[in-house]
Structure formats: C-alpha cells, structure tokens
Symmetry: C2
Subunit: 502 residues, 2 copies
C-alpha cells in the first residue's frame, strides 16, 4: 500500500514539475521574453501542456489511485485526503482530450499576447477574435467537465478555481451583498466630509518604489532567498515548486504608495505558496492551495487588512519616508492613512478601494457568466460592460482600456476566476476576526513592524494543510462557523464610517 502511494507521488511529482516549467515559461513571457518570442513560446506551451496532460491522465496514475483507495485503511487521515484530492483531479483531467489541452495552452499564450497589444492600443477589435476563440475552447472544456443537473456550464469552470462552488451559490452570496455595498459606497462617496488625498500626484522614481517594496516584503516575511519581485503590466504570483516563488508588481501610477498594494497583494499569495509544505509534499495535493478563494483571502488580507491599516502605517511610513526622501517628508500618519483609504468610484479593479472592489467583481461575474452561456456575444461586450458599469458604479467608461480590456483573465480563458476575489475578501475578513482574538496585540505588533506572529498563525492554521480540507471545511475549522458576509460588512463599516464621518 505505502508502495503504491509512494509510486503515485513519484508520478505526480513529474506532472507537477512539468506544470512548474509551464509556469516559468508563462512568467518569462510576462517579464523578460522579447516580443519576437511569442510564437515559439506558444509552441512550447502547447507541447509541454500536452505532455503534462498525457502523464497526468495516464492509466498508471489511475491504477495507483485505485490501489490506494482500495486499501484506504492503511493510510492516515492526511494521506487519505491526499488520495481523495488526487482522485478528484484525475477524474477532472481525464475528461479533457489532450488535443484540447494543447490547443488551449497555445491559444492562451497567443491570446494573452494579443490582449497585451490590444490593451496598449485600446483596440477591442484587435482582441475580439482571440476572445471569441478562447471562449469557444473554454466552453468546450466546460462541456467536457460537465455540471450537476439544475446547474449551468459556468459551474463546470468554477470547479477549477473553487471546487464545489456553483454559480447559484455565488449569486446567493453576491445578490444580498451588492445592495449593502452599494449603499455603503453611496454613503461614503456622497458624504460632505471627504478625507483629503495628500499622496495624490506625488510620484517617486521606480527604483525607490521597488526598494520600498522589498523593505516591506522582508518585514512581512516573504522570503527573497526563495522568491523574487519583478515588474509586469499585470501583477501576478507564480509558485514554481519548492524554493521558487515569484511576484510581480507595477509602478507606473500617479501615487507613490499605491504600487505597494499590488506588491502586498501578490506577497500574500507568495507567503501562502512559501508556506505550503512543498519541500516534503511537492506533487501531492498536500502541497497545493485549497482554492482560489482561499488564495485570495491571503492576498487580500495582506493588501487590505494589514496594508491599509493604521497600525501598519505607523511602522511603514517612516520606512517609506527614508526611501522616498524628501518627497513625503511632510506627510503625517493621519494624512497617509486617509490617503490609502480613499473610497471612490473608479475604473480599474486592481486599483479599486476595499468598498467598491467587490462591485467590480460582481460586474465581471455577471458578464462572464453571460459570455459563457452565449447570452452575451463578444461583439457586445464593450457596450454591455459600460452599461452595467454605469448601473453598478455610476460612471461612464471612457475607453476599453479602462473598461473590458483592463484585466488579463479572459485572454487566458480564466472564466470563473473573478468571483474568487470576492470570496477571498469574505474569507479574509472572517479569518481576521479569529486572528484578532488569537493575537490580541496584533495592532501593536504591526505598528512595530512585527508580522511574525501573524505569518505563523497563517502558516499553522491555513498554509501547512495544503488541500487537506476543502474551503468551507477549513473556514469552519478555523473560525468556528460557515462563511458569512457579516465580518466583511462589519469591518468596512467600522473602518470607513469614522474616516468619512457617516
């Protein structure tokens, strides 16, 4: 028995290694690949993903999983969970023909390149045929996966990002949350008292922003011996296996502290990746993240609950002042705290504040659900984006660059991914209540630049389990109750009401 499991792990480690190589190719494409390399890169991704898929779905792996299941009693709870998740992955993967996987990989690579150019030129027509193509392939993938009766095609895609979630469940969370958020946003944005944005327009050179970003990474515990930070158009985090986790961020913004949000967001993902037990379990579900919702809970927690807190800035402001001197020498803690917590209806999701952010997600959730079902034709996307954006956020979108071309996800066929951001916000707020009870002086620690207890708590309670527990179960174990919207709403109310005097 343990022989079968050991052999299974060996096979799975090869699959994970091939996947890690593919991630490196993707990282390189975004960071350092010369423009002319796009065609060859697509060929590389196509070939590699075909090889990985063949190995992942090999009958040998199927046999080994069955052997492990047959003698489940010989495994402890953790290994049983590992086999359970391997079974799930295997059944999902074997539903996809290799040819579709390879075509998707190649098209993703090319389509992402097309998106990059279309976004730079603000030209939706350039991207539309690629979106059409990738949606077609994504639909085919969803059809291969299938979905429960009473469900919809979109559910099949959710399975990749948030195992077990359905569009209806998400709707059931989003529908009541939306009017509460809209009401809060209206109260804040219509308040006569608007905290001034003292940081606005203060730009500092990119190398200083980078240096400050590294200061913060070191302090919060992202290990730079096993990771790095680069610059891309769209920030992301990639874990390539044991000892290699890479973050990217971007600096071309008009406010000198704003890039830190992206850096901390990706660092949250990175600290999760570094906290997974890859050194011993790489290749098994025990070294993988639970779901994207849980992954986002980590990134949004570091970005917002830490990175936009007063306690954090008590420590970080002097650090930033040293790096940026003399650009922000004159600013007080109150000014900076108000400045990084501006609530404003705006166009770009990744720059949105905590109160409006989830409205951006709800927009995308609705649109991509309609794109996949076919209710919304690709050609109507810009118009429909703009119409619903006006409804949800009250603004007229002036360009597709600030509208439907802003995010990389759809160019990759990542449909079903967006709602996990809001799930992440909800999980983050709920975890935070538990953490605050477990570490009563957390604010005091953060104000001294001490993040070790927080990181250890996350390592112990969330990271080290890998996929031992599903998201809902993990939430119940950690917080003692199922996921609820209350902690997020409470947190937003408590934070913003005093700032806006409402």
């Amino acid at each position: 028995m343990s022989n079968a499991y050991a052999e299974l792990v060996k096979e799975q480690k090869d699959v994970a290694t091939l996947t890690a190589i593919g991630s490196l190719l993707g990282w390189d494409q975004e960071t350092y690949m010369p423009p002319g390399g796009a065609g060859a890169r697509a060929d590389q991704q196509e070939l590699l993903s075909a090889i990985a898929h063949q190995r992942k779905t090999s009958p040998r792996i199927g046999d080994l999983i069955s052997q492990c299941e047959a003698s489940n009693g010989a495994l402890d709870d953790t290994l049983r969970a590992s086999v359970r998740e391997m079974r799930r992955d295997y059944d999902l993967a074997t539903k996809l023909p290799t040819e579709l996987v390879a075509e998707l990989a190649k098209t993703q690579s090319l389509s992402q390149d097309a998106w990059k150019h279309a976004r730079a030129k603000d030209d939706f027509a350039m991207f539309a045929p690629w979106l059409e193509k990738i949606l077609g392939l994504t639909r085919r993938k969803a059809e291969c996966y299938g979905f429960a009766s009473g469900g919809e095609l979109y559910d099949a895609l959710l399975e990749e990002y948030e195992p077990g979630a359905t569009a209806k469940q998400i709707e059931a969370i989003f529908n009541p949350l939306q009017p509460r958020l809209s009401a809060l946003v209206a109260r804040l944005c219509d308040s006569p008292r608007r905290p001034p944005d003292a940081l606005k327009g203060i730009a500092v050179p990119q190398d200083r922003q980078h240096a400050f970003g590294l200061d913060v990474l070191k302090a919060i515990g992202f290990d730079l011996e096993t990771g790095r930070l680069d610059t891309t158009a769209h920030p992301f985090c990639s874990g390539f296996g044991p000892g290699d986790t890479r973050l990217t961020t971007r600096y071309n913004t008009s406010s000198c502290l704003e890039p830190l949000s992206s850096t901390m967001h990706e660092a949250g993902h990175g600290i999760y990746e570094q906290g997974l037990p890859k050194a011993t379990q790489f290749g098994t579900p025990l070294a993988e993240a639970v779901s994207l919702g849980i992954h986002e809970s980590q990134s949004r927690m570091w970005e917002n609950l830490v990175g936009r807190s007063r306690a954090f800035w008590m420590w970080a402001l002097p650090v930033a002042k040293r790096r940026f001197a003399p650009a922000i020498d004159h600013l007080t803690l109150d000014q900076v705290y108000a400045s990084v917590n501006q609530v404003e209806r705006s166009f770009i999701r990744v720059e949105a504040d905590e109160a409006t952010y989830n409205l951006h997600i709800m927009l995308r959730f609705g649109l991509e659900r309609d794109l996949i079902s076919g209710r919304l034709p690709v050609k109507d996307l810009p118009g429909e984006w703009n119409r619903r954006f006006k409804q949800l956020l009250g603004l007229d979108v002036p360009s597709n660059k600030l509208g439907c071309l802003q995010d990389v996800h759809w160019s990759f066929g990542l449909v079903g991914y967006f709602p996990t951001y809001t799930l992440g916000n909800l999980y983050a707020a709920q975890f935070w209540q538990t953490i605050s009870a477990a570490i009563p002086d957390l604010d005091a620690q953060m104000s001294r630049g001490e993040f070790g207890a927080l990181k250890t708590w996350l390592n112990e309670n969330i990271h080290r389990h890998g996929r031992r527990y599903r998201a809902g179960e993990l939430c119940q174990r950690v917080t003692g109750r199922p996921l609820s919207a209350e902690p997020l709403m409470e947190y937003l109310e408590r934070k913003y009401a005093p700032l806006y005097g409402v």
Copy 2:
C-alpha cells in the same frame, strides 16, 4: 517521400522545442532564479532532458530517417544534407541511455550551482566532488559515443562541439601555433614601448555601460525585438528557437569599455543565431549552427576584428563619450585604441587580449584532455593548472578564483569545448581576409557605424546555410582554402607590431 521528411521535421521540431525550453531554464537559472530554486531546477532539467532524449531517440524518428535515406533521390541537395545530419545526430543520441542523459542534466544543474558558490568563495574543495562526479558522467558519455581506432576518449567528446575533429588534429594545429604566439607575446610584453592604458581605472555606473552596450547592439544589427541583454557572472548566449535569442554580459570590471568585449562577443553568437533560418527550418539541422568553432568565429570576429579595430572606435568612441559623460571626455581615439589593445599576461581568459587568449585555451585543452583520460586526478588540478600557467604565461596564479575556478565549462561537463575558441579565432581571421576583399571599404563603413554590409555577408555566406556544410567544407567554400594559422598570425603581427613598436 516528402511526406516522410515532413513528418520527420514535425517530430524533430518537438525535440528542438523541448531543448529550447531546457535552454530557457538554464538561462533563468543564471539570470533571475532565486538561490532557493536550484534544487527544483535540477529536477526540472532532469525530467525535461529525459523526455527530450526519449523523443529524440524514438524508433519512429529512426524509421523516418531511414525512409528519407532510402529515397534520397527525391530530395534536393539541401534536404539531403539535412537528412545526413539528422542521421548523425540520431546515431549519436541513440548511443546514450536516457538514464545517463537525465543524470547528466540534473548533475550539471547542481554542479553549476556548486561551482558558482565555490568560485565566489574561492574554495576549490567545495567544487572538487562535483567536478569528480561530472567528469565520471562525462567519461561514461564518451564511452557510449566511442571513438575511431588510434584515437582517444576525448575525441568522442569533441564530436559534440566540433563534428569530425580529433585531439590529434587539434594538437597538430596548436603545437606549432603555440611557440609562434609565445614569441609574439614575449616581443610585445618585453617591448620597452608600451602603449598606455588610458582607460584603466575609469569606472562608470552599470546602467550607463548597459545603455552603451545596447547602442552598439543596435548598430551592429543584433535585433532587440527578438533578443535581449542581461547580466550574469559568466556571459553567454542562448537561442531558444525562432524569435528569441538572449545575450548576457557582465559589468563589474575596473575599466569602463571592457564589458563591451563580452557584449560584442555574445552578440556575435546572437547574430549567428538570429541569422539561422529558424522561422522556416526550426527543428532541422538547416536551422542549426555548423559547430562551436564556427560559432566562435562569429563571436570572436565581432569582439576582436570589429570591436578592437580603430575603424570601429572612430564611430563608437563618440557614442561612448555621450553615454559616459564626462568620464572619458578627455580621451582621444589613439588613446582608446591603444587601451582596448593592451597585450598583457593575465589570469582571466575572458578578459585576455587577442595575443595571449589562445595560450589560455591551450592550457585548458591540455588539462581537460588529461582530466578525461584520468592522467590528471581532480585533486591535482589546481596545482597542475598553476604549474602549466606559469610555463605558458609566466605568472604565478594567486588564487583558484583566478585559476581553475574561473570558467563555468567544466561544471557543466563541457569537456572538448575549449579548443573550439581557438578554432574560432583561426576561422575568424581567415574569413576576415575574404570579407575584406569582398567589402573593400569595410573600414570606412565601420567608422561611420555602418555594419549592414558585414552582417549581410555573414548572413549570406555563413548563417543561412545552417549545417548544410561541415566546418572544413564551409571554410573551403567561403575562403577558397582549408583552415590555416597564417591569417591569424598575420593579423596579430600587423596589428600589434606598430602599437608596440616591434
């Protein structure tokens, strides 16, 4: 028939794509990989090279090659040459067991990492066990390849870098060349007239050196849309397939123009890679370089025959002055020309001048031949290096960092590679005589920063053929005679005699 060839190309393209991915992993390891990633990277290289080797040696490829050979008449000369080279590669590759290839790939990756640390710490003992291990594996590889009767194990390794060459042939070239070079070096170094080194000690920030390097790359025709330039401990060039050729260089030197040598050297390799017809022939020998000797002829030509010429500096000096202002504002063309043509007995091969360089190579050729045969035990390498160095170059080596730890090659098991540098110098000088006759105003062009005619000549006469001709045949075709030491000796005499008044 043409069906068999087309199918063969498709198979070979997959192999080449896997090889390109491996090259990217190697490039990343040297440029951006965090230190902690070394272990996982070795696993990736091991797996990838095993997969590539299995495909490369698949019976299917063997069958297709045989089919193409059987109906050779249906192929034109070029495709016949392509099949001839595929047969050679296949026969060579099938001699190696996959398990050895994978172990070599993994050990190379780890051993290179060990070398990097050993070099930084100047600690040969740290590297010795790795060198022992990689030499053992390299010997096993050579034994698998085999060699002609009357030859030696080293010949088998040469086959990978300089097809058809033998240790005896190289000895026959090196043995008479060495005393002539030594005599020239002695005359120059002992001359009472020593051209002053006005550049010595003038350092400029790395970003300016990088900008100047890019200026030169653009001018000489290295395409930055399909290539890039980064920084590593040991400069190299990697071609990853169509549209992606990457150079690295290093800047941490005491003289501000010296890094340009590395940059131009690697650019010479890069211009060759970019000149190969990869867009149409990728995967076939027609899109591959003839041999390392020919590859080095390109790098050494741009580095020395162009990059250390008076004509080149007539154009390049004002460009450098603008980038480095005011650091070298005061220097004249004569001063710079003398400065970049210092002949000096020194320790580091990649920084050696044109006159002493080949003595460095002869040292390595002798040592690695003895390492492979077992005549020289690894533990005696530092002592033996230092003893022979004293004989050839008259200096006492003060540290292994400046001695046997300076080059990356052996850490990779690249034994048989070094002599191709001197072959490259010989080919370069001989090609240059032909080029100078074909483009009579080449000096005038270079002095205006015009390198297009030179690049076109190289593209037409050397690059576009891929492996259509073997090195000796190409030399005969291009220059009308077999390789000879005369052009190099004539060039060195003519250039250095006036500078040193001898």
